[in-house]
Amino acid sequence: MDSKSNLKNFIAYLPRNIFSGFVVSLIALPLGLGLAIASGAPPMAGIISAIVGGSVVALLGGSNLTITGPGNGLVIVVLSAILTLGEGDNYQGYLFTLAAIIISGLILVLFGVFRLGSLSEFFPSSALQGMLAAIGIGILATQVHVMFGFASEKGSALEQISTIPKTILYLFENPTIKTLLGATIGCISLLFMFFYSKIRIPFFHLIPAPMWVVIGSIGVVYYYGAILNSPVPISEDLMIRLPENFLGEFPAPNFTKVLNIDFIGFTLSITLVAFLESLLSIKAVDKLDPKKRRSNINKDLRALGLATIASGFLGGLNVVTVIARSSVNVNNGGTNRSANFFHALFMLLFILLFVSQIQKIPLPALAAILVYTGYKLAAPENFIRIYKIGKEQAFIFLITLFGTLVTDLITGIASGVLCTFIVHLFLNKSFVLFSRNWLKPSVLMFLEEESGNYYVSVKNFCSFLNFYKLKKKLDEIPETEHAIVDFSLCDFVDHTVMEGLNNYRRVFASKGGLLETIGLDIRSAETTHPFAVRKSLPQSNFLNFKSSLTKRQVSLQKLSTILDWEYLAQPVSDSGDLEKFLFFKTKLINYQYNSLKSKNNITSFFDLSYSEGAFIAKENLEATFLKIKSPKKLPVFVLDKENLMSIFYSFSRSKDINFKQHPVFSNRFFLYGDDRKAIRSLFSKDLIYFFENQPTYHVESNGKSVLIKGGDRLASIEEIKKMLSFAEGLGVVLSKKED
């Protein structure tokens, strides 16, 4: 019975997953080619990795919405593996590296079998951020040259950075069409990547930015070929070359260097990065899942390992879970692992059908995509965010960053871990606290039999060294319950733990439960080491807004006195029941600010910062929202302007509800919701008349409250006034309704 309805569901959602898989493949194709080329491997290696990864992990994996394929993190490690192991012969190096990839896949399978997924908890979060930033700088440093039209620039990341001015200077000294065209394509592509999220045309966003870049640059090449009938003035080594018969011959991995010390080092580095990148991505995607499912990390690791082995034997790169592509999947309505499978299938189709077009992609365009990726990893915002949490965190971040750049990845992350530990020792001025209590089961969890709450008490200290113990207990609590984490017996709590707990808090909130932390304020008041980390719980704001108000804020304040409402300019991260609205199902709410609330608590409006997607597919948005408590129970519905997007949505998501007797309303609005009957009875004549005669807003109900949103930007004072009168009118119409 259950499996029957599962199958039915699966088939019902199939169109959505095919659609989502298609959109993902549009971004995966350029990324796959680019990452492989940047890694020093043949372009096909990235495509193979995505095809094998997508199909194997879709069949055997333990997560739901993740997309798998070649990962950003591995670019630098694989590149140096190929260069070092090849000793001048890059193709030989590639064959050696394939062997390392296969072995790393094997290690990942073992990790999964022995349930070592929790090992990732032992990396302090600031050190991890530092490592990611170093990887980002590495990608950026190598790809900037390609973006400017120079195919081969060798050396370490630091050397590459130092030669960037020389590269740019060369362009100005030799301004021929041949050098300039490549650089222009690269630079325009990069600018496009940066400004893509600023272009707010929904239809345009159906195709991901990297695909636009590819289409645009192919267009330029065709322009020269078909219209000017002249050869493209881009040098041969700046074009993609695919083998003639790529399905027939696969490279043979070379295992002869297995005992070589360099080989072992690279294998470990590749494994470590693949492991960390996958786990970080899986966790991040779980947070985006509208259904808030929990991924089986160890099962996923096994699948990723197997996929990596298969990919390695076919000549592909590591298969890791990738965050940007996964978030695109979530945003386009993917619901299960079949989306990953379809992404792989479309990749296969592309490579079979468009071989010649793909060979027209100029490398500077792909490099621009990667430069953007590298920039996102190493963006100064990341550092500033960490600096605001605490100076010591910034120190750890920098140590790891430079450690990784100057030496290698393993040494870098090891120095970050060590540095974190030393910082902790320094902060506590006690080695004993750690040495004596490390191995103790310092976490107690029990179900309070009187209240039915879960109570978790942490003793001694809680840091990255033993966070896994706390996590294990927290994982055993269903997220729909009320949990209390008590630190009053704990002398020290570090940043990794605070950040981790904040993630748990979010998951609990989104699933209808509650996770509270107590005992931290008391503790820091009576002991001498108040750890800055405590401030990183976003309840207290670390964003440090300036005390002086902007012009808009002053007018808002005036408005609040006229209305006799409460006004709060400071950002608050507690979003209340906002996450229960369909609109926020696949979005992350950062914080709300400039909130105005009526005294009777019925109406409130606020500016909200939220984001869609993740990593390079991330878009940060700000808009003004108005929320009213409904006078009576409503069905869950969404009412929006009907446009091209809604046609797409009605194909991939839900059907528009139309009313025969109200053609104007039906044409203007896109209305949907699960309980169609209840919605139809709610939208009676007077309500439809009301909506027809008002400006169009995005209106949706979560059953108890109604959310009203204007445009995709902050509203002006006049617009706010209009929204208020709209809300007032809506409230009147709704309260007139009979039950």
């Binding site: 333990g62 349930r115 499912r293 929990r294 991924s295 089986n296 990390i297 160890n298 099962k299 004993v432 004596r436 103790k440 089961p441 310092s442 107690l444 969890m445 029990f446 179900l447 309070e448 039999e449 009187e450 109570y455 008490s457 003793k459 294990k472 994982d475 055993e476 269903p478 008590d486 017996l489």
Partner: protein, 287 residues
């Protein structure tokens, strides 16, 4: 009342700043338990010392006529252990040292050594006070062991003697018994069901024991059960601390072997990190 597990109580005292509090505490305990109290000092008897201790006993508002003072010199630990044996002591009181630094852990407070080797039950007092304290909340370890029935009986007896307002019987369930790894939503559900079942079984077991206790021991004690999952011995100490219990009652273990000391078990955890006053019951035939 026929049931009287502690007829003879011994307290070893030293001339420390805690002396007065220790004496007061022991007088209160012995009179609440209606027992004979022996003040035992390891060291030379001098008239000065004798008068100090007598003055303290006299000054205490809580009187117990049934007391005596013993003096003996030698090595403290073996002498105390021998005295307990020779004098047929039922309960030994020790003012333990709360852990403060690593030094004390390695020197091993005398209390730890004595607890390991003494033949009678031991009550460790971590913060004796001059003022009359109430024993509000008693926590007792009700793990599945043949000794537990007796332990629960004594816990009820003590709760009544000290008029405690609450007695919690804690069933520690070893994590390995759950035997379900939580990976995703499905396994979480499975683990939850298994835990619920185990907790219910344990609860039934403890409730059965209590049902069979004679009425005059049970009295009107307000008791409840609580099951916790975690490392045996360690988690109950943690629990006692969390609920701010005033007394924790534990079974003693069978025999301390060399292995036990290398790999601390139930009691060792408690002794290493004494959460509150602890009563360790040794199964010695009464009389």
């Amino acid at each position: 009342m026929n049931f009287q597990p502690f007829k003879k109580i011994l307290i070893g005292f030293a001339f420390s700043p805690n002396l007065k509090a220790n004496i007061y505490e022991s007088l209160r305990i012995s009179s609440a338990l209606n027992a004979e109290i022996i003040f035992f000092h390891v060291g030379e008897k001098t008239s000065e010392k004798a008068s100090t201790i007598e003055n303290i006993i006299k000054s205490c508002p809580q009187k117990n006529k049934n007391f005596s003072i013993c003096w003996k010199s030698g090595k403290p630990v073996p002498i105390l252990i021998k005295a307990c044996y020779d004098l047929k002591i039922d309960l030994l009181l020790i003012g333990a040292l709360k852990r403060e630094n690593v030094l004390k852990f390695y020197l091993g407070s005398i209390a730890r050594k004595i607890t390991r080797n003494v033949s009678c039950s031991v009550l460790l007092l971590i913060n004796p006070s001059l003022e009359n304290r109430l024993l509000e909340h008693v926590v007792v370890n009700a793990l599945d062991s043949p000794k537990t029935k007796e332990t629960i009986k004594i816990a009820f007896y003590i709760s009544r003697a000290f008029l405690s307002s609450k007695l919690t019987l804690v069933e520690e369930i070893s994590r390995s018994k759950v035997d379900v790894q939580v990976d995703d939503d499905v396994t979480l559900k499975r683990a939850m069901l298994k835990k619920e079942r185990l907790a219910k079984e344990e609860k039934n077991r403890v409730e059965d024991i209590i049902k069979n206790l004679p009425k005059e021991i049970k009295g009107e004690v307000n008791w409840k059960t609580q099951s916790i999952f975690g490392k045996r011995g360690y988690s109950i100490g943690h629990y006692a601390k969390v609920v701010r219990a005033d007394l924790l009652i534990m079974n003693s273990e069978e025999k301390y072997s060399f292995i036990n000391r290398l790999f601390p078990k139930d009691l060792e955890h408690i002794l290493a990190e004494i959460p509150t006053d602890v009563l360790i019951l040794k199964n010695r035939k009464n009389g």
